[in-house]
Each structure stands twice: as C-alpha cells, then as structure tokens.
C-alpha cells in the first residue's frame, strides 16, 4: 500500500522540521551558555558543588545543572539527526513513496516533540500524520494493533489445539497397544497419519520444508547474535571513553569496580570544559584544519590533473610512467621519511606548516583510484566533445569531473581523515607546541596532578580531551556515510 507523498504533506513536514531546527538552535545556544557558566574547579581533580542563579531567583545546584545539560545533549543527539534527515527528504527531487511506517514514525515524532516542549511542531506533525492516514487507505493505527493481536491470538489457539491433538493421539496409541498389540497399533497410527497429512512422500517433503525453516531461523538467530557481539566489541571503546570522561576523579581512583552506567546528575560535564581550556583545543583544531584543508585542495588538484593525463592523453611511455608510480606504493614510507626529514631541514621548513603540507600534496593511490573511474567514462564522449570544439581542460572540468564526482568526494574525505589522523610525520618535523596537530597534541599533553615521581594521570580529563578529538570525525562520518562506505568498498574491489 504505497502512495506518492503529496506537496501538502511535504510542506507541512518542512514547517514542522523548521520549527524543530529552531528549537535545536535555541537549545544549542542554551547549552553553550550552560557550559560558559559552569564553574571550573581550582584543582582538576576536585568536584565542584556550586550554585547557579538564573534570572535572579531560580537557584540550581551542580547536580541539577548536570541533569539539565545531559537532557539537552540527549535532545540534540536525537533531534538534530532527524531534522537533517527530514530536510534531506524534503530537498530530494525524487518522488518519495509513502508507506504505513512513515505514518507511524510521524506519530512517534509528534509524541517526541510534544514531550520535549515543542507543541507547535507536535500539532503540525499530528495533522501531517492524519493526512498521511487519509492517503494510505484502509489503514489506521488501532486497526493495525487489533490485527496484530488477533494474529498472535490465533497463533496461541492453534498452538494449544495442536498440543491437545498430539496428546490425544498419544493416549489413543497407548490405548491401541493395550487393545490390539504393538504391531497393529503402530500400523494404525501410520494409517491415521497418512489420512491426516497425505501420503508418506508428501510427509517427507513437509518435514524437509519444516527442517529447512528451523535451520534458517537458527541461522538468523546465530548471525544476529554474532553480529551483536562484534558490534559491542567495536562500540565499547567509544562508550567507555564517554562514560569515563563523565565520571569524577574520586570515583576513578577509589571505586573498587568500575560502574557501567551513571545517573544523569552524576555526569561531570565540567570535565569537558576543563579539557577544552587546558588542552587549548581551538588552537590545535585550527592547526589541523589549516594543514588539512590546504593539503586536501592540493591533493585533489594534482590528483585530478595527473589522473586525466594517465587516462585520456595518449603519449609515449604513459603505461611505463604509471607502472613506476604504482611500484612506489609498495615501498614503506619510512624509506622516504628519512630523506624528507633532511630535505625539509635544508629547505628551512623545519617546525613550520610547509613541512606538514607539501610532502602530502599528492598521492599515488588516489591517482590510481581516480584514473580507474575516469577510464570508465566512454571514449565516444571525448570524441564528441572534441568535434564540438571543446578543449581538453574544458572537457575535464565540464564533463569528467562532474561524472566522477562521487570518487572525487571520496578522495576529499579520505584525505581529510588522513590529516586528522596524521601523527608520525607531524611529531617529527613540527615538534614545537604552536605547530602541534591534534593527534600530536593529544599524545603530548599530559593531564596529571602532583609532580615528579608522584605524578598521577587524571584519566577523566584525558578521556574528555580524547572524546573532543574523536567526536568531530564521527559527525563527519555520519553525515557523509554514503560516500565514505561506497568509496572505500570500491577502492578494494577495483584494486
């Protein structure tokens, strides 16, 4: 039962989403303000119990403040992604099919909006849901529930009936043994079965089908269990990072066993603020973004030009040069790090951004990757463009780049991730603190109390800083998931 979404529903959805976004923005500002007024402890291991006063008369304790911040963060975590999803859906030019699930999720959103103090959006979403219900004929929520219950009821009734029949048959069989003897009773049982279910071969077929179904169900259960275990294994470092970052130092040092859950009022959001100020996050972020952006633009430009030459221009020695380039992919980077270190020192770039940018302005792997997708563009297009008087450069910018855009996006993202992850080379050639990139800063900054041999690491602040480094990349990943996963998958299959 699917229908195309109508303009009216789209418009209502857009209005509700815009209201949601306005709320999210307001809440973000409030969250920022809360972080701004959070009182930092004098010593980073202390727990602050301060009192905050709003509008002159509302008094809020630290624990209540923590609850408020937790709720706000939770709200933003749920609503920002859904708002983005809705906006994407509205902006999408393609027609959208509408099914009962859309109706259900619309009702869910309406309830969520209502309970998060957003009545306007809730009302609009209820109206939208009603309109959807009109379009999806023969459907409403109550009926769906009733049908579901009926089906479950039928299942139980049949289960009870078949169990009863089974016991009745067994009783009869035992009865027959006493009456006619074992041989005859068994024969009678088989006869009855044939009468009930059909011939023996048919029974066999049914049994095979049933076994198949059971095997399939078992397989599915096993697979989901396996996947869930691995997913927990993959996810637990992230969870543990955030959880520990929100605990107090006292808890981390004195508690016998670590807790797996903590209450909203115990979440020490101030740790993030401490990490932010002690770690001078903005400076390292600025360094990383500057270096990352420049080398990204450089990489993409040189890669596109080189890939074009290797895929479209016919010149002598093309394959030879390209195979030499491919061979360098096998050589470990350390072999050239040694000389590059000397080169950079001789050029006077030591301890400057230039040393971080220029060696990474091009990449053999990306050239190879992009050449593959350039090669898939048919030659006839090139000939046609030439006949129309389109030069090579124009052809590259007007035809090839738009067609290969997904690959280029992937390259851009991968090189940005590379800049964020870079550690070895930056710590080697830019050791002074003003040039630290984010990974170097994270490994080199120490959050300790005490001094000398008595120094103890303050884990919660350190993990808060770690979370600050991890989260931006996760946001990028979740907003560009499609490109990243597809691009990485393709890089393997073509390689």
């Amino acid at each position: 039962m699917m229908k195309r979404i109508t303009k009216e529903i789209k418009r209502l959805d857009l209005i509700a989403t815009l209201i949601d976004i306005a709320y999210a923005l307001i809440y973000m500002v409030v969250l920022g303000y809360f972080f701004y007024i959070l009182v930092e402890p004098a010593v980073i291991t202390d727990v602050v119990s301060a009192e905050y006063i709003f509008f002159g008369f509302i008094k809020v304790t630290s624990a209540q403040m923590n609850v408020m911040i937790s709720l706000l963060v939770g709200y933003l975590l749920v609503f920002v992604p859904t708002a983005v999803k809705h906006i994407k859906r509205v902006a999408d030019k393609e027609t959208i099919e509408l099914d009962p699930w859309d109706y259900r999720s619309q009702v869910l959103y309406a309830f969520m909006a209502f309970f998060t103090g957003n009545p306007a959006s809730a009302i609009i979403r209820f109206i939208t849901a009603n309109k959807m219900m009109l379009i999806i004929q023969n459907y409403n929520l109550g009926k769906g529930f009733i049908e579901g219950f009926k089906a479950i009821g039928k299942f139980f009734v049949s289960l009870v009936n078949s169990t009863k029949a089974f016991f009745a048959r067994r009783a009869e069989y035992k009865n027959n043994i006493q009456k006619f003897g074992k041989e005859k009773a068994r024969q009678m049982k088989i006869d009855a079965e044939i009468e009930r279910k059909g011939s023996l071969s048919q029974q066999d077929l049914e049994r095979v089908g049933r076994n198949d179904l059971i095997m399939k169900t078992f397989g599915l259960v096993a697979m989901y269990t396996f996947l869930t275990f691995i997913a927990i294994f993959i996810f637990i470092p992230f969870y543990w990072m955030i959880l520990t970052a929100l605990k107090t130092h006292v808890e981390l040092t004195t508690r016998l066993n670590p807790r797996f859950f903590i209450g909203l009022d115990e979440m020490q959001w101030v740790n993030f603020k401490v990490a932010f100020t002690r770690f001078s996050f903005w400076r390292y972020l600025g360094n990383t973004v500057t270096v990352g952006l420049i080398s990204m633009v450089g990489t993409v430009t040189t890669t596109i030009l080189a890939a074009f030459a290797f895929s479209r221009l016919d010149f002598k020695g093309r394959e030879f040069i390209f195979s030499i380039l491919l061979m360098t992919m096998m050589i470990p980077g350390e072999l050239y790090t040694i000389t590059n270190y000397i080169t950079v020192r001789n050029l006077g770039w030591y301890d400057s951004f230039a040393a971080l940018i220029f060696p990474f302005m091009t990449s053999v792997f990306y050239i190879f990757f992009l050449r593959q997708s350039f090669k898939q563009i048919p030659d006839s297009l090139y000939r046609a463009a030439q006949v129309d008087g389109c030069g090579d450069f124009k052809y590259l910018t007007r035809v090839m780049i738009p067609i290969a855009r997904p690959t280029i996006t992937t390259i851009t993202i991968l090189s940005a991730i590379g800049a964020w992850d870079a550690y070895i080379w930056p710590q080697l050639v830019a050791p002074s603190q003003k040039n630290w990139l984010i990974s170097v800063a994270l490994r080199s900054t120490s959050f300790v109390v005490g001094s000398g041999s008595d120094a103890r690491p303050v884990y919660n602040i350190q993990l808060a800083a770690t979370a600050l480094v991890t989260v931006p990349l996760l946001i990028i990943f979740f907003s560009l998931k499609k490109y990243i996963i597809r691009g990485v998958g393709r890089s393997g299959t073509k390689g």
């Binding site: 470092p237 093309r318 090579d392 350190q462």
Partner: protein, 349 residues
Amino acid sequence: MNKQDSRLKQMIWVFRSKLHHTGVVIDNFLSKLGLQFIVRWPAWLKAIFYLIPALSLLMIFTFYPIFNSFLISFYTGYNIQRGDFDGYTLFGNYQTVLSHANFGRAIFNTSMIVLISVPVTIFVGLMIAVALNAIKPLRGFYQSIFFLPYVTNSIAIGLVFAFMFKGNVNDLTNLGLANQLLTWIGLKPIVWIGVGATYWSAMSVILIYSVWNGLAFKIIVFLAGIQGIDKQYYQAAQIDGASRSKSFYRITVPMISPMIFYILITSVIGAFKTYSSVVAIINREGLITTGANGTINLKTIVFYIYDYIGLASQDGLMSYASAAAIILFGIILVFTVLQLQVGKRRVHY
C-alpha cells in the same frame, strides 16, 4: 531594453567571430612555417602540463628520497646539517643494524603482529561480511557501527584502549574494563600494560587493538565483493543440493578471492609498518619498565627507525635508519613476491 539587449548580444557575437578569425589566420600562418605545435599542443606536451604538479612533488618527496636513502645507507659518519660524510662502507651499516639486539627484538615484535593480527582480522572480517550479507533488516545499522574504527583518530582510541586495560594485582581499587570482565568470569585480574606486565600481556593488548582497528576496512571491502557475486551461482548450487558451508567454500571464497588477496597484501604491508598503535597504547619509548622483570621491549621495526631519526643530529645514525628502512623494504618485498606467487595459483580473476 530588449533592443539594447539584442544589440549587446550582436556586438559580442561579432567580437567572438573576429577573435575566431584571427585565431584561424594565426593558425594558418604557423602551419605554413611548420610551427603549429605552439598553438595545437601535441599529446606529450599537454601531458607534461597536466603531470607537472603531481610528478614534481613525487620527484622531490618520493623518488629522490628512495634513491638518496639507498646512498645514505652506504655512508659512514654522515652528518645531516653539514651534508658531509667520512667515507663509504658496503655492508657496514647493515651489519651494525642486523647485529643490534634491539633490531632483532623489533623484527620479532613486528612479525608477531603480522602473523597473528592479519589472519585473525581477515578471518573475522570475512565471517562478518558473510553474516552481514545474509541479513536484511538492520544491515545499515551494523555496517555503520563496524565502520566506526576507520574514521577515528588512532592515537585517541589507543589511549582509550590503554585505559580499558589498566589495573594490576596489588591495586584492586582501580580495575580497568578488561580486568572487570575477567573477575566476572572468575579469573584474577592481570597486569596488562602497567608496571609488572609481561611481554605477552602487553602484546595481546596491541594485537586486540590492531584487530579492532583493522576490521572496518576489511568488512567493507569483503561486503562490496560479496554483493557483487551473481545470485545465479547460489541458486544453481541450491538446486544441486549443496549445503551452505559448501557453497561458501566453493562459490563465495573463490569469487571474492581477488579481494581477499588484495586485502592480504595491503594488510601485511600495513602490519609491518605498525607504529602509532604502540605509541598510543604503551608510550613514546615503546618500553615498559617493570621492577622485577626488567624492561619489556615492544618496539616495532618502524619504531626502531624513528628512534634513529629522532637522534638525527648525531653523526652516522641516519645511515643506520636508512639501512633498517631498506631491510624493512626487503622483508616487505619478499613477502609481497611470495604472496603474488601463491596468488597466481590460487586466485581466480
């Protein structure tokens, strides 16, 4: 308004046609003199123009260094600031490096990582990809979760791992997550990476981290490969009564053998170059100093090389670094050639 507009258009058109005419005249003139390549570039000239940015960078930062590192490895007493050296030695630096106890240890550590983490990661990755392919609901969700390690900062998550595996026997007040799990199943907490750790406990943390970190890429590539297999093969196998495991070994594995092979080569190379995971989990020195057991050395080959680069200002040490890097290259080359030889027989393209 309209009239003006059309007049403007006309002017532009006239200008363009004149421009074109001039171009044709110049073209004719040049081709009379046999100089037309100035205007109409031949392919090789264009190629140079397109390749200059990439190739010049590669020249300076890739080709020259490879050549130069080979040279440096034959120098004695090389000083990077003055750029001079005492003399040449053919195998002296290689001999020094190979006889160095730390280098042997580094080779041992690195090969442990290669031999254990690569097969485990590939096997588990393949299992996960097959399982992911078999399910329909929640596939996107699982896929996103499994992909997360690919987009994280390896230093950051390494620090988290170090924290998860902290804790020791004497000090039961602060167990890490791993030790907590051990106590739940009735075992005693282990000192993983702190003071009092053993070689294998620290190594196993590094191995677990390598597997965790390496899974993402493998799963995505394998899944892309499996999804590209034609469904008809499986249907045919089903009709012939092949079991699930049989169709996995006889269809899935051969069909994605190019990807398995590609992943095998790249991850062996990657595992030989392990560095930042050790830095993040252990420390910058790659050593754990323990009272009773002495020092535990967890340096990898790359670690060994960077130790020398860090001391670059001393005479002659760069030559050792180069020699070690070339030995690493040799090892990787041998492994890759071996794999290619095996792959020729086993991989179906």
